[in-house]
Each structure stands twice: as structure tokens, then as C-alpha cells.
């Protein structure tokens, strides 16, 4: 049957993580196109609302490995379980979150199975591939689409000859959508002792300080984003003033984060989070494609930049040619004046 697998991550409070539900929503669409089923792979311990949270998003089969040693995540037992399941069930596609868990696990699985894996896909589609070497056409392959080479190009990658076709996708890239509230499926218990060895549990946890997400710019409706152009005294303090005034959050480009202007949790783009706010205001943001990949779905985009040719301007609804240090205070002033 060659179904689609989605490896599901577990949150600190023991629910299925959003990134996995997003992947399931995508997998459901791909599965409908391929006329196959969606299978979730869950390795955890007494996961809350397992069935009631997975089925409505379109999961047909839950493969559930339930063992106290499976949470918190460690590589080898999760690796052992998913590779054995893949060998038994031969899925054609296997998706992972591009998180610290998925990016730890998926490459090891791909290496073991000698399969192709594409990291940080921004889009997944089904399509055909002409194999010029063997002069054949392979139908219904997974197109794994991602920015490459520092984001200067967009590459469509395929794995014509290895199965499963594996890809990771970052949190917030795919849209989480209920498929059918009444959709139901089948729970298959994975006998953990037969799938793992005691020696797989080789990690000793000394301490863990994992917070519920500290900064949540993903859900923010208004984002004031600073680029490297804000690398002057009080640059981000000024942006914070604007964000607070408008009821939004601050975001940043990789260059701004690398320069230490703001914490990493606020980084938007291919190697940060993907956001879809109602309003995005870019201040001194040039708009490299990796950054745009994380914000180009914003409903309205304002670019404030002294450079009329900044790439961000091309996707902006409004471009203000000027210095953010002068424009932002005016935005704050006129917002206060007009919002009463």
C-alpha cells in the first residue's frame, strides 16, 4: 500500500506537537492525491489526547510505541523503532519536523536506509520525473522544494530510486488544518521491547529546562522585524516601542540575530520560524530569500529601508524610502494620534 509516514513529536506537556499536526495536514493532501493512507508514528509515554488530536487532522493509522523510557526524546530508541517500522510497512514518503528532534533523527534514519533526505522543505508536491539516464518517466514522486545555496536559488529535489522519500519541514511552514472532525482511524501498538535493545537507551538525562515557548512570534498578528540595518544603539529598543504600541512582537533577520541584537527565538526565515502575520513591518531588512521564505505569506508588508533596491521592497505593499530611525518614531506618533 506504501502509505505516508509522519513522525510525531511530543511537547513538554505531553501532547502531539503543532509541527507534527502541520505535517499531517500536508501528508493528508499528498495521500489523497496518491490514494494512500496517512500513518502517524508516535514514540512517547502516556501521550495525552493521542487519538482525539491525530484523527481529525487526517491520520488513518497511529503506530504507537508507549514506554516510559521514550520520553524525553533520545536518538537511538526512536531510531530503532522508526527504522523497523519503515522496513516492515514500506511507506513511500516519510516526513519529519525540521526541529532539534527531527533534524537529529531523520538523517540517521536516512543514512541507515540509504535513502535521500531533503532538509527544510518549504513546499512539497507530487509530480513526475523524467529519468534521462534510463530514459524512463517515474510518476507520482515527491517534489521536495527548498531554497538552496544561501537562498539564492530554489531547488526542486526528488529521490527517484530510494524509498521512503524523506523530508523535513520547519514549524509553521505548512498550515495546520482540520481534515474532518469525525475522521477516525486505527491504533496499532508497537511492542517496544521487540523493537529496541536496552543498550539503545544510552543517554542519561542530568537536567532539562525546557519552557513552553518563551517567545511566540509565530502566532503574532503584527510583527515589527529588524534587520542588520538596525545595528545601531537602541535600534531594537525602538522597534520594541513600535511593536508594543501596535500590540505586536519583534522579529529579526538572521544577520540581526547573528550580530547579537536580539534572541534567536525571534529569527524569521528558513533557519528560523515562519510567520504569517496580518502586518509585517521590515525595518532595515534587505530581504534575502531565506528571510522572505519565512514571511512572504504576511497579509500586508511594509518595508522601511534607505535602499530603494532592497529585495524586500519587491514583495512589499508599501515601501518607505527612509531611515527606520526616523520613520519608526513617526509611525508611533501617528498611530497614537489616529487610534483614539
Amino acid at each position: 500500500m506504501n502509505n505516508i509516514f509522519v513522525y510525531c513529536e511530543i511537547t513538554e506537556d505531553n501532547f502531539i506537537a503543532d509541527v507534527s499536526l502541520e505535517l499531517i495536514s500536508k501528508a493528508r493532501k499528498l495521500a489523497d492525491e496518491l490514494k494512500v493512507k496517512v500513518e502517524a508514528v508516535v514514540c512517547g509515554y502516556e501521550v495525552k489526547n493521542l487519538e482525539s488530536s491525530l484523527y481529525p487532522y487526517g491520520v488513518d493509522i497511529i503506530n504507537y510505541a508507549d514506554d516510559s523510557r521514550l520520553f524525553p526524546y533520545q536518538t537511538l530508541p526512536h531510531f530503532a523503532i522508526i527504522t523497523k517500522l519503515i522496513k516492515e510497512k514500506q511507506p513511500q514518503i516519510c516526513l519529519f519536523g525540521a526541529t532539534s528532534v527531527g533534524r537529529d533523527l531523520a538523517p540517521r534514519v536516512a543514512s541507515y536506509l540509504r535513502c535521500g533526505l531533503t532538509a527544510d522543505c518549504t513546499s512539497l508536491e507530487i509530480g513526475d520525473y523524467e529519468d534521462k539516464k534510463n530514459n524512463t518517466t517515474i510518476n507520482n514522486l515527491l517534489y521536495q522544494i527548498r531554497p538552496a545555496f544561501g537562498g539564492n536559488i530554489i531547488a526542486t529535489i526528488v529521490n527517484p530510486h530510494t524509498r521512503p522519500q524523506m523530508a523535513t519541514v520547519r514549524e509553521g511552514v505548512m498550515k495546520k488544518e482540520i481534515y474532518n472532525e469525525k475522521h477516525s482511524g486505527e491504533l496499532v501498538r508497537v511492542p517496544v521491547k521487540n523493537y529496541t535493545q536496552d543498550s539503545d537507551f544510552c543517554i542519561e538525562f542530568i537536567s532539562r529546562e525546557i519552557e513552553a515557548q518563551k517567545v511566540n512570534i509565530k502566532g503574532a498578528q503584527i510583527i515589527v522585524c529588524g534587520g542588520y540595518g538596525m545595528n545601531r544603539p537602541n535600534g531594537f529598543a525602538l522597534l520594541k516601542q513600535l511593536a508594543d504600541t501596535l500590540g505586536g512582537e519583534i522579529g529579526a533577520t538572521r544577520a540581526a540575530v547573528d550580530a547579537g541584537l536580539v534572541e534567536h527565538e525571534r529569527q524569521i526565515g528558513q533557519t528560523g520560524v515562519t510567520v504569517r502575520p496580518k502586518l509585517y513591518i521590515g525595518c532595515g531588512v534587505s530581504g534575502a530569500v531565506q528571510h522572505r521564505a519565512g514571511m512572504d505569506q504576511s497579509s500586508k508588508i511594509i518595508s522601511i529601508n534607505t535602499d530603494p533596491n532592497a529585495p524586500l521592497n519587491a514583495i512589499a505593499d508599501y515601501t518607505i524610502i527612509g531611515d527606520a530611525f526616523e520613520v519608526v518614531p513617526k509611525l508611533i506618533e501617528y498611530y497614537k494620534k489616529n487610534s483614539k
Binding site: P72, T75, L76, S100, R103, D104, P107, S111, R114, G116, L117, A119, D120, Y143, Q144, A148, G151, N152, I153, I154, A155, T156, I157, V158, P160, H161, T162, E171, E204, F205, I206, S207, R208, E209, I210, E211, Q213, K214, H264, T271, L279, P308, P311, N313, A314, I315, D317, Y318, T319, I320, I321, G322, D323, E326, K330, L331, Y334, Y335, N338, S339
Partner: protein, 267 residues
């Protein structure tokens, strides 16, 4: 007991400083226009290895890199900072390797070096950002992995304790050697060159391994050994929308804010 450490490193084009001449007129990448640098997170990895050598003087650090012959530059660079030596895996058969073929070649090279206690590497390289080669190399070496390392907490002859940087916090974990560790950019930055070492090694001969030296099966290398195929490359074309360009006058800003309020974009 002395520890044997391998640090995986890559010489990468500096994709963070892409200028206007970085793309050719045909829309392909102009590698010549980009400076070749030591992949930043591999420097964090080197520093973590050097921190172990600080504590245990008889630790031996060997750099393993794959690339064209000029990649020997980063081996010397690492030696200026404190590494003992290194090898470059270089062969035309390696051209076009994806992460699976790369990790195969690298793991073969590491195996040639004999018993290794710790393999360090950067979390990811800035020209690919995949973070795959580390875990894939660990699998091929048959050893556990610790990814996203931020701090070396403790090291003994038989185990290592590492603090990891995750999306929503940190965790400290301990495991037995041997292990492969990938290091995050939040870990300490690499120390600078040591002047004496710079003088001593600036012309150092760096050992080269070809495919035969690492006893690689040819069909697992290069394009043949790479299951991922590039179907299509699009150079990035910006999608134009109706764009309004404004001078930052008071009247313009006032009108813009009013429009955003009236259309319920801001409340």
C-alpha cells in the same frame, strides 16, 4: 589515557556575504565571487575539542575535511589554533555528493584513522544548512550522537556530559564514549591563531586521501551514490505586487497609519 578526537570541518563559500556578482547572468551561482571560509559552526566544534585538550594535554585532535585540494587551507587554519593535524578527502569521484554520499566518504576516512573517542563537527554548514552529515556519519560509524551541543560540561576517559541548546530550552545529558557531537553556534567561539603555531605550520604538508585510500566503494560516492537528484533549479525571481513607494513625510505616514487602521490591519 589519551583521548583521540576528530573534528569534521568544511570549507564553504561565504554565503552570508553574497554580493551582486554572486550570481551569473544565466542565474547560476558564481562560486569564484564568494570567499572560501572555515564553516562557522565547525570552528565552534574545534573550540570544544581544544577545550578538552586544555584539560587533558595528551589529547590528539585530527581534522577531517572533504573538498578540493585547497581545503587543506582549513586544516592548516585549525592547526594554527591548536589542532595536531588533519587530512583532506579529495577525489573527482566525490563530485556531486549529497549528504548521504558525503557522510559515507567521511566515515570511511574516520575509520582509517583508527580508534577514535569523540568526533566533533559543526551542527550544519552555511552553504547547505541541512545538519545531516553529522548524524549520518554517526550512523555509519555505528556510534551514538549528541546534536546541538552548546557547552562541554564534563569529560572523562569514558564518558562525556554535554549541554544541548534546543528550540525551547536546554538539556544536559551524559553518555559513554565513543560518540559524535555536533556543535551549535551558541557554543564558545574558536580561539585565535597562536603566533608560534602559525609560523610552524604555515607551510605544513597536509595528508590527502583519495577514494582508494579510504577503501570506498565507488558506487556509493559522488552523484552515483547520492539518492537525491536535483530536478530543477530556479534562480530566485521576486514576485511583484502592487507596490506603493512613499517618501517618509509626515503626511504620508499619517495617511498610511489611517489606512491601516481603517482596513483593520492594526487596531
Amino acid at each position: 589515557m589519551s583521548l583521540k578526537i576528530v573534528v569534521l570541518a568544511k570549507q564553504v563559500p561565504d554565503t552570508r556575504n553574497v554580493g551582486k556578482d554572486a550570481m551569473t547572468a544565466e542565474g547560476t551561482v558564481n562560486r569564484q565571487a564568494l570567499a572560501a571560509i572555515f564553516n562557522p559552526e565547525d570552528l565552534n566544534a574545534l573550540e570544544m575539542a581544544l577545550a578538552i585538550k586544555d584539560r587533558k594535554k595528551d589529547t590528539e585532535i585530527t581534522i577531517v575535511t572533504m573538498g578540493p585540494d585547497r581545503a587543506a587551507e582549513i586544516v592548516r587554519d585549525a592547526m594554527f589554533r591548536g589542532a595536531d593535524g588533519g587530512v583532506v578527502v579529495s577525489d573527482r569521484k566525490l563530485a556531486g555528493s549529497d549528504t548521504l554520499a558525503t557522510s559515507y566518504a567521511i566515515s570511511q576516512a574516520v575509520k582509517k584513522l583508527g580508534k577514535v573517542d569523540i568526533v566533533f563537527g559543526g551542527r550544519q554548514a552555511i552553504d547547505g544548512d541541512t545538519a545531516q552529515v553529522g548524524p549520518q556519519t554517526a550512523e555509519k560509524l555505528g556510534i551514538p550522537q549528541i546534536t546541538y551541543a552548546e557547552e562541554l560540561v564534563d569529560i572523562t576517559d569514558k564518558d562525556i556530559t554535554i549541554k544541548r541548546r534546543l528550540e525551547r530550552g536546554v538539556e544536559t545529558i551524559k553518555t559513554n564514549l565513543p560518540v559524535l557531537v555536533t556543535v551549535h553556534s551558541s557554543a564558545p567561539k574558536a580561539r585565535y591563531y597562536n603566533a608560534k603555531r602559525l609560523m610552524a605550520y604555515k607551510n605544513a604538508e597536509i595528508k590527502m586521501f583519495n577514494a582508494a585510500d579510504i577503501e570506498a566503494e565507488d558506487e556509493r560516492l559522488g552523484l552515483t551514490g547520492s539518492p537525491t537528484k536535483v530536478k530543477k533549479i530556479d534562480s530566485v525571481v521576486l514576485t511583484h505586487k502592487d507596490n506603493v513607494t512613499l517618501e517618509p513625510t509626515d503626511a504620508n505616514i499619517d495617511n498610511l497609519v489611517k489606512e491601516l487602521i481603517n482596513t483593520h490591519i492594526i487596531g
